[in-house]
Amino acid sequence: MNSAQIEIQLIASLVAVACAIPGTFLVLRKMAMISDAISHSILPGIVIGFFITQDLNSPLLILLAAITGIITVVLVEHIQKTGLVKEDTAIGLVFPALFSIGVIMIAKNANDVHLDVDAVLLGELAFAPFDRLFIAGTDVGPKSLWIIGAILLITLGLLFAFFKELKISTFDAGLAASLGFSPALIHYGLMTVSSVTTVGAFDAVGAILVVALMIAPAAAAYLITTDLKKMLLLAIIFGVFSAISGYWFAHWLDASIAGSITTMLGLLFLIVYLFAPSKGLIAVMYREKQQRIEVSLLTFLLHLKNHDDIEERHVNHLNEHINWQKVRSKTVLDLAQKNNMIEIDNKIVSLTEKGDEFTSKAIDYIITNEDAQIEDMKDDFFLFRG
């Protein structure tokens, strides 16, 4: 592993971290698509900045691009406010228009310079180490490393300074406002950070893959935990992991680094999506099956409690009247018996004392809307789960 490789991985990891932090909040605030819009619409800002400075890494360019990002957000919000179209339509209208302007500007003017659309969309991490920053004649490392490092530092600084405010305004904007934190200020602050990060990162990973780095680690983390701090941490870990493994994957395939980082992110998300302990697809399906049976059991017990007449409590009644298939009613019946909640005497089902108590409690909790209590109660009463 030579120094260029290490530098590339370092840059990729820094980008991943810098993206994961605002990304987490965007996902939580249900504004993920805004990052997509920003990543496209900063193009005209970049182009104008490039015309002025002739340098892709100048701070002015980053500033201009960030301003374009904010303009996008403001435009989208304005269009929404007119009530003429819905929110997502507004997003879908604004960013292609701005992006097109950028593409046309490039096509008309920048044909002969080092700025083409592919680079903006995809970035080329492999070349990053060749563009080096010299301070007083000494080589201090690749330029993009410094830029993304600076952005990351600012982001981290802001995160630590305003963690509490961010947290409150994300979960309860009304409360935040009543406590005196301006939700608008935090909103635009977050948007600014997202824009700046996008700009800083586009050079390395390209505009669209910034979106992947923002959303995918945060989304995967959100499936595993709901604790904000843990979620941030996990998102960062996921991001860095994909960045490094993506680099080696690309190395092996000899293909786009950015593309393979995204692919790794995709795989990671797929794995989390399937296997996450409580929110993953498999866990959810298992739990749904369990709950379906348990709810059926509750229904059945309640039915027994409600009806004293023998006819309603006959085993066959289950099939005919409650409209269940044979297999299902048998599962439910077995479960109830295993848990000592019912007795079957001569095909007539009746509640045991335990079943009776369980059912009464369950009804109380459901009427008072205390779901958590029901789960506790199931733990108390059940010997076997569904």
């Binding site: 879908g92 593409v103 893959l209």
Partner: protein, 344 residues
Amino acid sequence: MLGSFAVLRKQSLLGDAISHAALPGIAIAFLITGAKDSNTLLLGALVSGLLGTFWIRGIITKTHLKSDTALGLILSLFFGFGMLLLTFIQKQPNANQAGLDKYLFGQAATLVESDVWLMAIVTGLCLLVLFLFWKEFKILLFDKDYAKTLGFNTKTIDILITSFIVLAIVLGLQTVGVVLMSAMLLAPAAAARQWTNSLSKMVLLAAIFGAFSGVFGTAISASQNNLSTGPVIVIVASVFVVVSFIFSPSRGLLFRQIRFIANRRDLEQQKTLAFMYHIAETHEDISHPHTIKILNNFQGFTRKTLQKLVDKDYVTIDGTMWSLTQKGFEKAANLYNQQHKTDE
């Protein structure tokens, strides 16, 4: 055209996601067949587009992630994967690979006759289905639960609409490309919505707007060097949207503003008149003159409104004194009574 449905279903960004998701399909189709035949590639795009759509649905229904996250996720992940495959293909010794990136931005100039035929056929098919199931689409879009109680299988209609949107997107990829497809889907529909309140007219208008932006955009891009078709078409379509937002007679911002100002003027006049009425009421002679100065205490009074009232013959002015005319008094009395009625 089908964009109208996307806009009304609040699934505007789905188009964006699908078009991005189609990219790996194109690349894989190329890898498998090694041919650049656009039909095969589009089939690949269709499959991966549909796959993306279903995964988005899966994420939304099975996890607590919200739709925007799911969209952004699928969009960027599929696109990244597609890019990986494209760069991988470029590194292959197969010389045949150039031209795949036309799907990124679209290049109408590269269309050949068979492509155009294919488009025409699919468009015709879309029209036919739209015509046949017009009623069903409409009721599903407007009131899904109600459609269910009427005995329509809402799932079938839903899948039908979604598949056609995906199909339309995939076809459009060649012309405007992955990145800008969503605008093609949304812009004509959003513009059309501003001009009409009828679904059929909206769909028709959207089709016209779309066709116009296509024709104009292609013409402009052909007349200039170095302009790819896609972005120009999108810009033209966006101009349509902006114009519609501002100038549409019933919903447009311009007319809304004009109406708003007109309303406020009316209100000011009425208020001033009512204020005068209260003063005049205390006198036996309603036309008894008062100084204009009294009115200065009243908020919302301007010399202009007074002049307007004079023009309408409600008030007469004599030097610095004003007095209500008989007509003005009756008008004011009327207003006053009306106000009280609505208060009750």
